[in-house]
């Protein structure tokens, strides 16, 4: 297949006798199937067939292109939001421990509620991600 600039994309490196070799060697890798399919280059979707690549949801014109280009940014955004929540929880835990040692029990319970709310928010942000992989 010709790709921009006239370069020719090499054929996938799949051993026809052992098409599922990567899955045998690295069953812990969820993307082992991609190695077996040969779709592990820089632009795996350009192969066009969509075989075994969950990101390619249809055939025909435009298949293999990214239909949700903002998906990666959304995932990065979710990570940033949850990381911010975790930093806030670290602060809350520090203040809660200090309040406990100073016998300000009411403040400890308030901060415990804050921690629970933060965790619930982190779970919500995590679960809101689309199940497209």
């Amino acid at each position: 297949m010709a790709v921009g600039g006239g370069s020719v994309r090499p054929e996938p490196e799949v051993d026809p006798d052992r098409p599922y070799r990567a899955r045998q060697l690295a069953p812990y890798r969820r993307d082992a199937g991609l190695f077996d399919s040969g779709l592990t280059g820089r632009y795996p979707g350009l192969r066009g067939s969509g075989a075994r690549d969950a990101r390619i949801r249809s055939s025909g014109p435009g298949s293999g292109s990214d239909h949700d280009p903002e998906r990666a940014a959304m995932l990065s955004g979710r990570i940033a939001v949850v990381a911010t929540i975790v930093v806030g929880q670290l602060w809350g835990l520090t203040v809660a421990l200090n309040a406990w040692l100073e016998r300000r029990t009411g403040q400890v319970w308030l901060l415990l509620a804050f921690e629970a709310l933060s965790f619930a928010l982190a779970v919500a942000v995590w679960l809101a991600a689309p199940r497209d992989r």
């Binding site: 690295a26 835990l93 200090n98 040692l101 100073e102 016998r103 991600a129």
Partner: protein, 159 residues
């Protein structure tokens, strides 16, 4: 055979070349850490972490008498709860935990300065209130309640 081994090795190299932790894994790890922090805060709330004066003990006589500027070290309410009692120059009696709130070094009475001092990092506490006067301690010293009668000076509780 050697060719097959080389192919297997090459395939393993390709698999290992990619980071095994994806961004989705990072997200899951962060949520797990968030849950761990919630558990830590719950542990603080239910009192897993020990603080001075946890528990109760009967009144304990710590000295027969103390003159102005004198101090006595004792343990109250538990054997691990180091404490000290000080007779201030104005005649008042004050009792505090003798564990520095910075890094738990021993707090000592310095009669020449009239201060409570932690020699580890030069933390200084006001003997009249237990508040931090100088140095890195983040909190004042926990109080030990004292009572004085004809039989001596007694530690009766923690404040």
């Amino acid at each position: 055979m050697a060719r097959e081994q080389a192919a297997t090795r090459a395939l393993l190299d390709r698999i290992r070349a990619d980071a095994p932790v994806t961004r989705r894994d990072y997200l899951r790890i962060l949520v797990t850490v968030s849950g761990g922090l919630l558990l830590g805060a719950a542990a603080v709330g239910v009192g897993v972490f020990r603080r001075h004066g946890t528990g109760t003990a009967p009144p304990k006589r710590v000295a027969d008498r103390l003159g102005p500027g004198e101090a006595v070290a004792f343990r109250y309410p538990g054997v691990d709860d180091r404490a000290l009692a000080v007779r201030l120059p104005d005649g008042r009696l004050a009792g505090y935990s003798a564990v520095c709130t910075h890094l738990a070094c021993a707090v000592l009475w310095r009669e020449q300065d009239g201060t409570l001092q932690c020699p580890c990092h030069d933390g200084v506490f006001d003997p009249a209130s237990g508040e931090v006067v100088a140095g890195p301690p983040p909190r004042p010293l926990p109080k030990v309640l004292l009572r004085e009668d004809s039989r001596g000076i007694w530690a009766v509780g923690t404040g």
